[in-house]
Amino acid sequence: MAGAVLLLIVITAAIIVPLGPGIISLSTGRVSEGQPFTVEVLGHRTGFKADAPIQGWLLARGPLDTITLCSQKADFLSDSTARLHFDIPGNIVPDTARVLVMDFLLGSSTCGTLVLRNAVIVDKDTSFSGNRVKGNFAQCKYKEIAIHGGTFSFPFRENLLESIRNLFFHVPMWFVMMALYFASCFFCIRYLRKPAERDDLWAVELANTGTLFGLLGLVTGMIWAKYTWGDWWSNDPKQTSTAILLLIYFAYFVLRSSIREEQQRARVSAVYNLFAAATIIPLLYIIPNQQNSLHPGQGSNSPFSDLDLDNRLRMIFYPAGFAWILFGFWLANLRSRYRILQNRILENE
């Protein structure tokens, strides 16, 4: 009951908390040296206002020097679009480079300072023969603009955008699956220590429900992948290894259905279940994290590091995981109770 209420709160929060402001795209990202550069910015929830000044910067940060260009004029177009005008100096690309890649920054009191990394490429004007910029260069000083009256919001991430909310739907599916599989393993150990039909039924129904959540996680992951990574299935190590894990558990059900004698079935499948549960951690964490993955947490970083998880997300993510796990156990509980009842009725017959 409390679990259902918590799940409701968490899902509501996952949907109604707004996404923070950010830049989705620029109308153009290429300009030549010495040319005026006019660019239209498409923002997301930036809330531009006609009377709130907008300032844009182009920044190239080298190891030793920084090149800063400033917008000369900024036009308000709508609450999420603006047009900025830059003058690109004719000698801005250093001697050693052919192009200069610059970050685009935009600041306004309505949205704070927003960044679009590596957004603008400045081509070298090869006909220019004078001295080129060396060291630091700044048309004006870059200063961060603070946001006025910020609300509680999820962080804006390039490419993810609003789909960052899937963190509260896709990721907990795997938590539930793992929790149920480990619980299933626990009942198998109990069965092997002291055979009781009840424990066998609990084990199989926990594994059953765990597989449901695994499949849901896989399908939601594929949908999310299509619109962020560009393909339904990209043979990402984590995708592949979860598919293997599900196949291992499918084999568990096949094994069960192939043995007729009840006690033998319970014993053999309980032993198999132990081995299946032992593959979970290596398959889901150890192996994929040592390879290059599109998932967060590759290269043996923790997937829950500050890089990927913001405190604002954590506030909802952890309760969400907990609530979904409770929900998964409730489903498995219903199934197990049904199976125990079924056995009792069939025995009476």
């Binding site: 899902i11 789909s163 909310r165 399908v219 619109y227 049904y338």
Partner: protein, 79 residues
């Protein structure tokens, strides 16, 4: 039988938007799911989870109904 029909029409009703998506020219559907900051991707995932869990519950419902039937006939038999 009747329950079966209801179930089938329910599944078809839920699958209809996906069938429409599959028939689209690809570009259009991509645009819908990418529009408004990809919010419809979240909707699609939440729907998949909802449909999955509801289907699971419907299966349990039908199993329970079967059990109730056995129980009922048993009681009748004893009486």
């Amino acid at each position: 039988m009747n329950r079966n029909k209801i179930l089938r029409s329910l599944v078809m009703l839920l699958a209809a938007p996906f069938a429409a998506v599959a028939q689209g020219t690809g570009m259009e559907t991509a645009d819908l799911l990418r529009s408004n900051g990809k919010i419809y991707v979240v909707l699609a995932c939440a729907l998949v989870i909802f449909i999955g869990i509801v289907t699971y519950m419907i299966i349990l419902d039908r199993k329970l109904a079967r059990l109730e039937k056995i129980r009922r006939s048993e009681v009748k038999h004893h009486a």
